[in-house]
Symmetry: C2
Subunit: 464 residues, 2 copies
């Protein structure tokens, strides 16, 4: 009996985790595994790119968790510089183009892993394709940017468009590299994944390291000459720029799947079941290209994060390997460190809670990361959003000093279990003066949220 | 109508939190509140005492959260240097002795709050009452020890008896103060609240800062002359000592309650219901003197910790104030920082799981506190104990560098919700390179525990 054949499209977290897990469970006699990657790298930490650009991580090689050769030694036949251009789900084959030679060929599959990742959103404006305007999505982007920074023509002034995670991390990285940095975003505060009041704390941090903020401002165009850029036009004025970084977010890369008739969900990601099967026979999907179940909103969502991609890859790999595993969804957790601030969120922010139809109370609590009297105690601001009447936690946001961000995990676990803020206030969390005041900030916030919910319960509901 | 009268016995966390919360909810017209404290201080952080002794926290006043005068200004009639010597539950009165004058009087109560705390365990050995042999329980102990350290007769050699939290924290504090420190414990490894394999990591840390360990050794006596000490006798040899610290743990201070017929539970703490009522009319209890429900073992337990005392005080205060609140139990979380190591535990360690009748699998995982390539990434060892067949998490232990300990909180929350290790491995925890590898140590350990449970399930159960 000949082996089954698994083809993996995409050589990063989702695809290669699936390949590795399937390989662990099935020998080459039982399963042949072939992976096609358009770029030159496999299994690297995209989240680490801003730290490489900023010089915090000196070598790009450290970002690579597993090289193509390591995968090959483990029995995964990796082809770099190969782009899958079409899937024929009837025939069970894909069309692959060798990007160097331009030659296309057909490759047969029994099982197909779609792990095409995400594509950065680019504004549809003249000049946006100039090479001095960088998306930061794949390792090649980071390497190209570093080459530019290290060159004789090193840029002096940078404009970062988009104040999300990548935008902020890149703004800080460029400040660390000695550039003058301006940051532009349509929203009134940076980091629109937070509520504006929490985003305002991040804005302070950015200003403190010298970033000029242009908020509530839309980019109208780029002043470019060939591949060079000289300015970014916003609201009638031009911000001078030698280099532009786009941090406008990403969307699932689903063109290939859609063209093959593989279903894409309302969030824009490839629709999958709990085992990450697409519903098309033999076709699985994982990583930034898929749609996930958001356990708090109850709705489908597309969230590009390495941690989900790795988990999903493993789940798909277990199932491809003959086991049983599921990806039971997300609660919307994300953390970052920027300008000396730790920033974290989970669940729904106010606007999301409203959009999902929840009525809610919000509380914000200022406390300290350690016992107030302990050396190194520093500010931490915790915001909770809780459903009215039930008191169920809907979301949490934290901005603070070292030790702040990972406190989001206990709230993520609480959301996962649909806990009420009253019950969260009873949680048996670790206390010792170097780590927390005797009431952990999470507990203080939960208590306050409990009081707000209790009080709102006694108010007449509805408006006059 | 005259006010109800609440008498509070004990002026620290449990008692004064209850008093404060009751006061917030009821005015002096409705509730008179009188508190009796044997010592000279109210509402201080006992957990901070080792850091004050070690000089990390320079002023003892920083440990005081709320002074007697602050309580008085808030309408709580605090009497220092007053010891309650008897409770008459029939008459609804207590006997109070003014420790300065020696005069006793009766005080009437409608509601009584028993918050007598805990008493340090002292070995029943000759010389153990010498004043150079210190318990570290109340702020006065810490102040006396500091006075000794700062005196002309400052000790040079210390022996710490008992390698629990307080023992270890005191050992480090005395090293910081320049003393030669020996640590003695009956157990084979320090910190018997951890499994021995995890305790061994703490032993390494202690040796690294120069503490001499005498493990598996019992104290047989003290060489004392009056109030001075010169040595500690263990297993036939004598360890020279100018000062001795007892860190043998504490037991609930229940003598007063027991003498009054208030029920004490099997754990040795005052038995209370969910609202912290003792079952004796009008009598409530909170803090280190009470018995709590351990949510994992399902058994009563007595756990002296400031965080529980504060929560319980608040719960009793809400109920005394006419509201409704409950203390739904603990999962056994504790953290400390010692010798540059962060140490955390929650739930049941192996011996406790066995004693509670669980069959279980244990896994230990070594990983890093940040992405391995990120500056400052340092070791973290995570141990999980999970029930066989069900995969339910039973306990967790963490020893590691900065950023390690508070990861216990997500496991405490998982225990609270009776999650399985498989589900924990799916949790949506915060990931960014400064905080975690893409698989958080908690997730890696949960995956490994899931695999161990799965494997054990296929083994024949029972022994041949």
């Amino acid at each position: 009996m000949s082996a089954e054949r698994l083809i993996v499209i995409g050589g990063d977290a989702g695809g290669m985790s699936a390949a590795s897990e399937a390989r662990r469970r099935r020998t080459a006699d039982s399963l042949e595994i072939v992976a096609f990657e358009r770029g030159r790298y496999t299994s690297y930490s995209a989240c680490g790119i801003p730290y490489f650009v900023g010089g915090v991580v000196p070598h790009s090689s450290s970002l690579i968790a597993r090289s193509p050769d390591e995968h090959r030694r483990r029995g995964i036949d990796v082809h770099l510089g190969h782009e899958v251009t079409a899937i024929d789900t009837q025939a069970g084959s894909v069309t692959v183009r060798d990007l160097e030679s331009g030659v296309e060929r057909q490759e047969r599959y029994d099982q197909l892993m779609v792990a095409t990742g995400a594509v950065p959103i680019r504004p549809d404006l003249p000049g946006a394709e100039a090479s001095a305007i960088f998306g930061v999505q794949v390792l090649e982007d980071g390497l190209a940017l570093r080459r530019l920074l290290d060159s004789d023509a090193a840029p002096r002034r940078a404009v970062v468009v988009g104040a999300g995670y990548i935008g902020l991390e890149m703004a800080e990285a460029l400040v660390q590299q000695g550039l003058e940095v301006a940051l532009v975003d349509r929203a009134p505060q940076p980091m629109a994944t937070l509520d504006p009041d929490m985003g305002a704390l991040v804005a302070e941090g950015l200003r403190a390291i010298g970033v000029t903020l242009h908020l509530g401002a839309a980019v109208e165009g780029f002043d470019t000459t060939g591949d060079a850029v000289s300015g970014v036009v916003i609201s009638g004025t031009t911000l001078p720029a030698d280099v532009v970084i786009l941090g406008l977010g990403v969307r699932p890369a689903t063109a290939l799947a859609e063209a093959a008739g593989i279903r894409v969900g309302p969030s824009g990601g490839v629709a999958v079941d709990r085992r990450l099967h697409t519903g098309t026979p033999g076709v699985w999907a994982a990583g930034d290209c898929v749609e996930v179940h958001h356990r708090v909103s109850g709705r489908p969502a597309a969230i590009a994060l390495g941690t989900h991609a790795n988990k999903q890859g493993r789940v798909a790999g277990v199932n491809l390997g003959g086991g049983y595993a599921t990806f039971p969804g997300v609660v919307g957790t994300a953390v970052t460190k920027v300008c000396g601030l730790e920033v974290a969120r989970t669940g729904l922010r106010e606007a999301e809670a409203e959009a999902a139809g929840f009525d809610f109370e919000s509380v914000v609590v200022d406390s300290t990361t350690r016992a107030a009297y302990f050396p190194g105690a520093a500010p931490i601001t915790t915001k909770l959003v809780a459903e009215r009447r039930t008191g169920r936690l809907l979301g949490a946001q934290i901005v603070g000093a070292e030790g702040a961000a990972k406190r989001i995990d206990v709230l993520a676990c609480a959301l996962w279990n649909e806990m009420t803020v009253d019950e969260i206030a009873s949680l048996d969390l670790g206390y010792a003066p170097p780590f927390s005041s005797v009431w952990d900030p999470v507990l203080i916030a939960a208590r306050k949220a409990g009081a707000a919910v209790e009080q709102s319960g006694s108010e007449p509901s509805g408006t006059a």
